[in-house]
Every structure is written in structure tokens, then in C-alpha cells.
């Protein structure tokens, strides 16, 4: 038996090259887990079993013949069903896309294929990536492996589930307001959003082209680095080296970002900061002066961008959308041009403020999700003394870095008393993505 839920790409690669395991064996184990658990967790919209087996046999043949494609050779990866994989439908979890079939791979997918990755299936998501709970999907909700009555987060919820449940060694998601980091946090995985524009979004169904990012969810920071580099077209990256924790300078934006937190999420965050301080990390406070405007700015941009993309199908086939997603898209059609421009101005202001907060710091540090994974069907959750809308809570700590384009990574940092994962978010400077990952690797080693 292969312990897929804990097997990293790094470890699989070592064992593959030592001839202790084959690509065919790992694929069979992932497919077995899909057979057993997908009916209750609903992670996959499409399982590419035959194709994956063929790819695995070819990967084993290639390795035996001395052709090694790099760190992803023979690695089973699941793909959010928002990215084109040639010869398969890209449903975006919507009946609107019923007739679709991708003629070619998305650029990022083509890079993974070239790197030897094996595509095990297309994963469930919140319809058109327009939501954070994965509840509104033409294929039904994906469910959190830690508690199937709870949301896995979204929109890349099925992706996170497939990873945590051992159905793949890594998965590809998209992130427009937190859609990689939120499900990573809710399910207890590493979720990484690179700097805006680094990974191609060609062949990806857009939500907001101004805010969309493609990136990996993985079991470790090193695995996220390996997949991220492959997405860029680098199949054999150098090993990621951790920075020394002693001397690492971290800024914590407490105002707004730490004001509305579940008690246990707050406790895990503070314990994490204490552990890092004890290891020599310098932690001080910083601020984003216009943080209270993040949500209104984000809302006006994402609504208007999404409405423009969907305007034709909202007229021609409105009944094919799930009702909540259709209504939110319709709402976007009422955003005035002048308010869209105000929001873009606000976005520039926020970008300057995040840059300023990063000055003198190697990274910003904050929780990823202010609450543990919420129950499916909940519109609101109790946070401290107040009842808060789930949607606002899910996006509250992540959407800023889509507006500003800074790279951000979510890493697990303990659990609640109910066993639900908590998550730490690190944010780095534009185009300093490797530096952020090196810092995250050091923190992961300390708090893991």
C-alpha cells in the first residue's frame, strides 16, 4: 500500500528513480482512492483513468529508456475544470459549457504535460470560479475530507479535496480572490498564488482577467515550488533552499486583518508567531491604511469583469447557470463605469500600500482564512460575538493580494479542537516569488 495522502512529489521522485515504485503503481493507487472516496467527496467532475494509465506506462517506459523529464515525471496531478486539457470538456462546473471540448492544452497545462505530469482528472469547483464554498456547481458540492458536512472552500474546492484525500500528488487551481489559498486553508494543504502575470492564463476560463492567477496546491512548499516552476516551463528546477529564520523580517498587518478572527484561528496564528519569534524571526506590526476599502474595490472590479464575460450567455441561456451564480453575475451588469474607475484607482492605492508595508520586511504574515471550514449551506457564521456572512469571511484576508498582484502562499499552521485546519499566509514582493517561497519553506520547517 502506498501512503498517497502523505507522499510528496519530492519523495515520490526519489523512490521512482530508485526503482522502488512505478508511475503505474502510483496511478493505480490514486484511482483506487478515487473509486473509494469520490462518491462521498465529489472532488472530480471527470476521471481520466484510461488516459492516465496510458501516460503512466509511457512514463515508466521513458524512465527505463533513460529519458527523465524532470521532477514531475510520472506524477499524478489533478486539474481544476477551468483549465483546458486537450480532448476533454472544460465545464467550469456549469451547464453553460455542456457542449465544450478543448482542442488544445492551456499553456500552463502544456508545460506540465511536457514536464511528464500525468493528468488524473478534472476537479469540481464553484461554478465559473465565482464563489468560495464550492456549493454552487452543476455537479453538486465538493465536500471537505476532514468533515464532509463542511465546505472544502473554493473555488478550487475539488482540487484541494483531491489532494488531501490522496487522489493526486498535486493539483492545479486558479485564484481570483483567494480560490487557491482558501481551499488550501480549509483542507489543510499548501496553496500558492504566484505574482500576477507569471503563470499564463491562456486557455483558462476567466473570472476577471485583471485578477486571475494560476497556481498549485501541494503537500509541501517544496512541492509547490516544483509545480510552480513546471507551470512556467521549467521542468527541472534547482532545489529550493530555505532562508535562515534568524534575521527574517516579517510584518503583521493587525488592523483589519486580525480584527475579525475565530478564537481558535487567532490562537493558532499567535502561537505560530511565537514559534517563529523563538526561532529568531523579527516580527513587527505594519498597516494597510485603506484596508477597509478592500472589499468594495474588489467587488466592483470582479462583478463588472465577470458580467462582461458572461453577458451573452446570461441573455441566451440564463437557466443553465445555478441560481446564486446567475444572480451575482446579473448584479455585475449594474455596476456603473464611474464606480469601476473608482475601484481601479483604489486598487492602485492598495498596491502602493502593500509595497510600502513590505518595505523593510521580507514578507507580510497574516492568517489565510479567518474561520475554519464553514458548514455547507451556511450563509453566516458566528465569529466571536457577531454573526458574519460566510462569503465576506472567506475572501476577507486573501482578495487584497489579487487586487495588488503580490505573490502569496498559504501553509498549514495547526488545527482547531474539532480537527479543522488553520492556515498561515505569507505575502512577498512583486516578482520576488522565489524569495517568498524560500521564506515559506523555512517557516514550514519551524511550524510543521
Amino acid at each position: 500500500m502506498i501512503a498517497v495522502p502523505t507522499l510528496t512529489i519530492e519523495e515520490f521522485g526519489r523512490r521512482l528513480r530508485a526503482r522502488e515504485i512505478t508511475a503505474e503503481q502510483i496511478i493505480e493507487e490514486c484511482l483506487r482512492r478515487i473509486d473509494v472516496d469520490n462518491p462521498r467527496l465529489n472532488a472530480f467532475i471527470l476521471v481520466l483513468a484510461d488516459q492516465a494509465r496510458r501516460q503512466a506506462r509511457e512514463a515508466d517506459r521513458e524512465l527505463s529508456a533513460g529519458r527523465d523529464r524532470g521532477a514531475l515525471h510520472g506524477v499524478p496531478i489533478s486539474i481544476k475544470d477551468l483549465l483546458d486539457v486537450r480532448g476533454t470538456p472544460t465545464t467550469a462546473a456549469s451547464r453553460v459549457r455542456e457542449a465544450h471540448e478543448a482542442e488544445r492544452d492551456a499553456t500552463a497545462i502544456a508545460h506540465l504535460r511536457q514536464a511528464g505530469a500525468i493528468f488524473i482528472g478534472k476537479t469540481n469547483l464553484h461554478e465559473f470560479a465565482f464563489g468560495t464554498t464550492n456549493e454552487d456547481s452543476a455537479f453538486g458540492p465538493a465536500r471537505n475530507p476532514h468533515d464532509p458536512a463542511r465546505s472544502p472552500g473554493g473555488s478550487s474546492g475539488g482540487s484541494a479535496v483531491s489532494l488531501v484525500a490522496g487522489m493526486a500528488l498535486a493539483t492545479i487551481g486558479t485564484d481570483t480572490g483567494g480560490s487557491i489559498r482558501i481551499p488550501a486553508a480549509a483542507c489543510g494543504a499548501v496553496g500558492f498564488k504566484p505574482t500576477y502575470g507569471e503563470v499564463s492564463t491562456d486557455g483558462v476560463v476567466p473570472l476577471s482577467r485583471a485578477l486571475d492567477h494560476v497556481g498549485p496546491l501541494a503537500r509541501s512548499v517544496t512541492d509547490a515550488w516544483i509545480v510552480y516552476r513546471a507551470l512556467l516551463g521549467d521542468p527541472a528546477p534547482p532545489p529550493l533552499a530555505a532562508v535562515p529564520l534568524r534575521g527574517l523580517r516579517v510584518g503583521v498587518p493587525r488592523a483589519y486583518f486580525c480584527e475579525v478572527l475565530d478564537d481558535e484561528v487567532r490562537a493558532r496564528f499567535e502561537e505560530t508567531l511565537d514559534a517563529l519569534r523563538a526561532a529568531g524571526v523579527s516580527v513587527d506590526e505594519t498597516e494597510i491604511p485603506h484596508a477597509k476599502h478592500i472589499a468594495p474595490i474588489y467587488l466592483h472590479i470582479v462583478l463588472a469583469d465577470a458580467a462582461a464575460y458572461h453577458a451573452t450567455t446570461l441573455e441566451s441561456m440564463p437557466e443553465r447557470y445555478t441560481a446564486p451564480v446567475r444572480l451575482r453575475l446579473e448584479m455585475g451588469r449594474y455596476v456603473l463605469a464611474e464606480d469601476y474607475v473608482r475601484a481601479q484607482n483604489g486598487r492602485e492605492q492598495l498596491r502602493r500600500e502593500v509595497n510600502a508595508a513590505l518595505a523593510g520586511h521580507d514578507a507580510l504574515m497574516l492568517p489565510t482564512l479567518p474561520i475554519p471550514a464553514p458548514p455547507l449551506g451556511a450563509d453566516s457564521v458566528k465569529v466571536g460575538p457577531t454573526e458574519e456572512p460566510v462569503r465576506n469571511m472567506m475572501l476577507r484576508l486573501t482578495q487584497l493580494f489579487n487586487l495588488t498582484g503580490h505573490p502569496a502562499i498559504a501553509i498549514p499552521c495547526g488545527r482547531t479542537s474539532d480537527g479543522l485546519p488553520c492556515s498561515l499566509q505569507l505575502v512577498g514582493a512583486h516578482r520576488q516569488t522565489e524569495a517568498l517561497l524560500r521564506a515559506a519553506l523555512a517557516c514550514e520547517a519551524q511550524i510543521g
Binding site: I297, H300, L327, M331, Y334, D339, R342, N345
Partner: protein, 58 residues
Amino acid sequence: MTVDQWLQAAIADAERRGLPELKPILETLARATRALRAADFNDDASDGRRSAAVRSRS
């Protein structure tokens, strides 16, 4: 157009289009729009001498 005028027109249009269920989420958007317009990063053709409080009523 003030936010109140916009909201009234948007709700009327949604009802005309057979989407009365849009009303509560348009009201949510209106709250966000008021907050956005009240921000001090907005342009001001009078060269910034109007206060944020004045802008918040526009």
C-alpha cells in the same frame, strides 16, 4: 447619479426583467458603492477641497 438614484433605477430594471430577487443583493452592492465613493483616494475635480463627508453624500 447618486447611489440612491442608481439603486432605485436598478431595482426597477431588475423587476421589469423578471428578476425581483436581485433587490437584496443590489442593496448590498449599493452599500459597497457608498463605501467606495466615500474613500479619500477618489478624484475630485474641485482639486480636492471638498471633504470626504461631502463626497459620501454624492
